[in-house]
Amino acid sequence: MPTPDKRNETRAGTDGRTVQDIGGMDFGPIDMSEHDLAHWEKRVDAMIVLLNTKRHVFTTDALRRVIESYNEQQYDATAYYEKWVRALRNLVIEQELITRDELAQKLKEAAQQFEASGRAVAAGEVPWDDTGVDEGGRS
């Protein structure tokens, strides 16, 4: 199994704070409103629990490490479960459960099924290169 490199993504103007390390900084008021979880968010939660606590594919600490490796723009622009699903994707490849090619193929098939049934398919790609997972599926 690969051992990922140690690296920090730091936040501009903070004297080297890592991107998630914002305690005491002013980011305005916290949104305290209650909201329901979307179906995909529940599925991400379930997959994380399965792979973390049941199958021990990765630890909570590894999940946090991947999320903390997003750059500042990506960290701030993504919501909680968006961070989780990206980390999940990178960790199953880092831990060699599946390859990037296999994942790309599945996503292509899913997109084709969605389009055939008239459902919307997002055009954008979620970046890889900020996490240290390269083309071969490991760093």
Binding site: G23, A62, R64, R65
Partner: protein, 101 residues
């Protein structure tokens, strides 16, 4: 956690400790706003596999003692206006702690 796989405990409840203000490379559980601050050990939580290693798929052994460190709010924040008795309890792993007077 078996004793032989855990680092020896250096601190007990009531000990004054300083949280190191070093920078860290990679994942760690010690936020910047408490680094360099001095507090008191409020609770000894036991020894746990070390997150700074677990994050990189390593076993995290020897397990590291984890302490609840009590910090005064008016030491954390320059302009803190609340009562002097207000405090923050935060869990800090032993490799980040050193004895303080």
């Amino acid at each position: 956690m078996k004793l032989e796989t855990a680092a020896p405990m250096r601190f007990k409840v009531g000990d004054h400790v300083r949280i190191d203000d070093r920078s860290s490379l990679g994942h760690c559980r010690t936020p910047s706003f408490v680094r360099g601050k001095t507090g008191v050990v409020a609770e000894v939580l036991g020894a746990f596999r070390y997150p700074e290693k677990l994050a990189y798929h390593r076993p995290g052994l020897p397990a590291q003692p984890l302490y609840t460190v009590r910090l005064r709010q008016n030491e954390l924040w320059e302009d803190y206006a609340g009562p002097a008795s207000d405090h923050l309890d935060i869990d800090i792993y032993q490799p980040w702690l050193e004895p303080a007077e």
